[in-house]
């Protein structure tokens, strides 16, 4: 990415060459003089200026250790990580916070509002909405996270390699991605998933990955092509770096940001897509409990019993928000310019 002319750090004096002693680093006290000279100019830019100027040499730091250090102090990251941790916990052990059985329903209580012990009320079938919302986390989060991970890994690997190496492989991949783009989601879902008999979430995950990777691949390809044209990639090649090093150390870290953004936004879409497929009867099937199934069932009853829609939809929104916040925090932490 072309860097716009950055203003000189305040106090930096570019005018005139430095005095002879300052230019000679081997002169006695040379580095210290420079430290004093430079301390003003870098003050306020970065905290390490203090220890850097006073302490002799700091320990080595890398992008990843710096990013982790940055993340731990970022409230957005802490909140989103806590939320995600909580969601993962109840996805694994829903009985931790819900004592009932999501499949134990009482038709006589159909669409009733909240009652003691049943804070979210009942749905059309008379099932407890609270219990179903808690138990639905497992399927929805599994689908959302696994489909996003799958699509992001597959898409960025294929798109990144195509963008980096170019040539006929790139043309081939781009055309294949176009073909997958052309498949209508609903029609494709009906065709692919209606022949699957498994009741687990994996066929749905697989289908979403199949349709989702071309989007990520296009983004990754574009941003790799932008990154690889930078002079620092040429510089690495001039030093004799191999393709793996150039791709992993120079291109990938500078091309990953758009992929993270798109993938975190896609996570919400994928959970919603699971709901659509479930609504059509080709996604998750009862007795699996999922937010998608509940949201589609409740959507038609929104005027009679809005609480049926509100709670699972709210849970879905919070989950999506948590992942978007996490993606945002990670992306910022990987950009040293924002520190």
């Amino acid at each position: 990415m072309p860097d716009p002319e950055r203003p000189e750090p305040a106090g930096y004096d570019p005018v005139g060459p430095r005095p002879k002693e300052a230019v000679s680093p081997t002169g006695q006290g040379g580095p210290m003089d420079l430290a004093l000279d430079e301390a003003e100019s870098v003050e306020g830019i970065e905290k390490t200026a203090g220890p850097g100027a006073s302490g002799p040499r700091e320990r080595a730091r890398s992008l990843w250790s710096d990013a982790w250090h940055q993340l731990r102090r970022n409230p957005v990251f802490i909140v989103s990580a806590a939320l995600i941790l909580f969601l993962v916990l109840i996805a694994i052990w829903p009985q931790l916070i819900a004592s009932g059985d999501p499949l134990q329903c009482d038709l006589s209580k159909s669409q009733q509002g909240s009652a003691p012990g049943h804070p979210f009320g009942y749905d059309t079938q008379g099932c407890d909405v609270y219990t179903r919302t808690v138990y639905g986390a497992r399927a929805s989060i599994t689908v959302g996270v696994c489909a996003t991970l799958g699509a992001a890994l597959l898409g960025s690997a294929l798109g990144g390699l195509a963008g980096f190496f170019g040539g006929w492989g790139d043309s081939l991949l781009s055309r294949v991605a176009d073909i997958f783009f052309g498949i209508p989601v609903v029609l494709g879902g009906l065709v692919f998933l209606s022949v699957v008999t498994s009741t687990t979430v994996w066929p749905v995950v697989g289908f979403i990955v199949l349709l989702g990777w071309p989007q990520i691949a296009r983004i990754a390809r574009g941003s790799v092509i932008t990154a690889k044209q930078n002079d620092y990639v040429q510089a690495a090649r001039a030093l004799g770096a191999g393709n793996a090093r150039m791709l992993l150390r120079h291109v990938a870290p500078n091309a990953v940001a758009p992929v993270i953004v798109v993938a975190t936004i896609a996570l919400g879409t994928y959970i919603a897509l699971e709901a659509t497929l479930s609504f059509l009867g080709v996604g998750l099937r009862p007795p699996t409990v999922s937010w998608g199934i509940d949201i589609s069932n409740a959507a038609s009853q929104i005027r009679n019993a809005p609480h049926m829609l509100l709670w699972p939809a709210g849970a879905l929104s919070i989950t999506v928000l948590a992942f978007i916040m996490l993606g945002d925090a990670v992306r910022d932490a990987l950009d040293p310019k924002l520190r």
Partner: protein, 350 residues
């Protein structure tokens, strides 16, 4: 000065470039690409580089200077021609042999804002050279080597853990120079190393480069379009036009006794600070644009804009050699010039 040129020709060249050619294919079609032509970015360039000297290469934008740099670095594969480093043709090398040669030929890039990876600390950027060439510095020693390098370059020594965006343009360019020096190369190719910097910072960087040249006995190929900076740093200068070398000689030969009309026009365009001199001197104003390198003129490439052009120029390509009229004469005008009608013209030099 004539003596200097004699001594340089007697020395053994460290880098010999012979008839270097780079054509970029022009293609049509999305899936089935068909070549419809070629941009002749570099079309038969030859020169020598001697140990410890600086060869300046000047020319206007698009004349192929940067492509020459990329070819010498093997960042682009030459279409034809040879580059001999100590007698070995490096344009055909690949793999391990190429990597070994790269230890000795390094590069400083034009734009200090894009030549450093924004996501690596200065220590990592320079330390990476030792990861790629582990034989230069054993593992435990690398951090110290990086620190030593940063100490050689002014006011960077304390900031090993900084990221590039925390430095000014001049400091960044010095980081680039430190990276170029890391492997202890013999040749450094500088592709417009100061054109992205302020004039005052340019001087600092140029002086640093001269100091390092003395310290490490480096040879520079210094590519620029700023004629006064090139004169300041170079021992010899080559002038390029449309993928060809128009004239090459020592800085006094080129700047005080240019014989090629293009060089004369270039020099007459150099800004002169003294208004009185500026009024009185002759400006050669070239008409027209640089022809497209995809379809260069026949014969002499400069003939379409040259005031001396005759029929001979369109049929016969002038060779880069000492012109007939100056041959055997002990004058500074007796240097290689690719013109049929080479002659001296009083030009106020920089």
């Amino acid at each position: 000065m004539a003596e200097l040129s004699k001594t340089t020709t007697e020395r053994e060249p460290i880098l010999q470039v012979r008839n270097l050619v780079k054509h970029f294919p022009l293609t049509q079609g999305i899936l089935f690409k068909k070549q419809v032509g070629a941009v002749k970015a570099v079309d038969g360039v030859s020169f020598d580089l001697y140990q410890g000297e600086t060869l300046g290469i000047v020319g206007e934008s698009g004349c192929g200077k940067s492509t020459v740099a990329k070819l010498l670095m093997n960042l682009e594969r030459a279409t034809a021609g040879e580059v001999f480093y100590k007698g070995q043709d490096i344009t055909k090398l690949s793999g391990r042999a190429l990597k070994a040669v790269r230890r000795n030929i390094q590069m400083v890039f034009q734009d200090p804002y894009t030549s450093l990876n924004p996501r690596m600390t200065v220590g990592d950027i320079i330390g990476e050279t030792f990861e790629i060439h582990p034989e230069v510095a054993p593992k435990g020693d690398r951090r110290r080597k990086v620190q030593e390098l940063l100490d050689v370059v002014p006011d960077l020594g304390l900031y090993i853990n900084r990221y590039p965006h925390q430095f000014s343009g001049g400091q960044r360019q010095r980081i680039g120079i430190a990276r170029g020096l890391a492997l202890n190369p013999e040749i450094i190719i500088c592709d417009e190393p100061v054109s992205a910097l302020d004039v005052s910072v340019q001087a600092q960087v140029i002086n640093l480069m001269e100091k390092l040249q003395d310290e490490f006995n480096l040879s520079y190929i210094f590519i620029a379009h700023d004629l006064s900076i090139v004169r300041h740093i170079s021992d010899r200068v080559g002038v390029m036009y449309l993928g060809k070398m128009a004239e090459i000689g020592t800085d006094a030969q080129i700047y005080d006794h240019p014989t090629h009309p293009y060089t004369q026009a270039l020099l007459s365009a150099v800004p002169v600070p003294d208004p009185e001199v500026r009024e009185s001197r002759e400006r050669i104003i070239l008409t027209g644009d640089v022809p497209s390198p995809a379809n260069p003129p026949s014969g002499c490439r400069f003939r379409t804009r040259c005031w001396k052009a005759q029929d001979k120029c369109s049929t016969e390509e002038p060779l880069l050699a000492v012109p007939e009229r100056f041959k055997g004469q002990d004058t500074l005008a007796a240097h290689d010039s690719a013109c049929h009608f080479a002659e001296e013209k009083a030009i106020l030099a920089v």
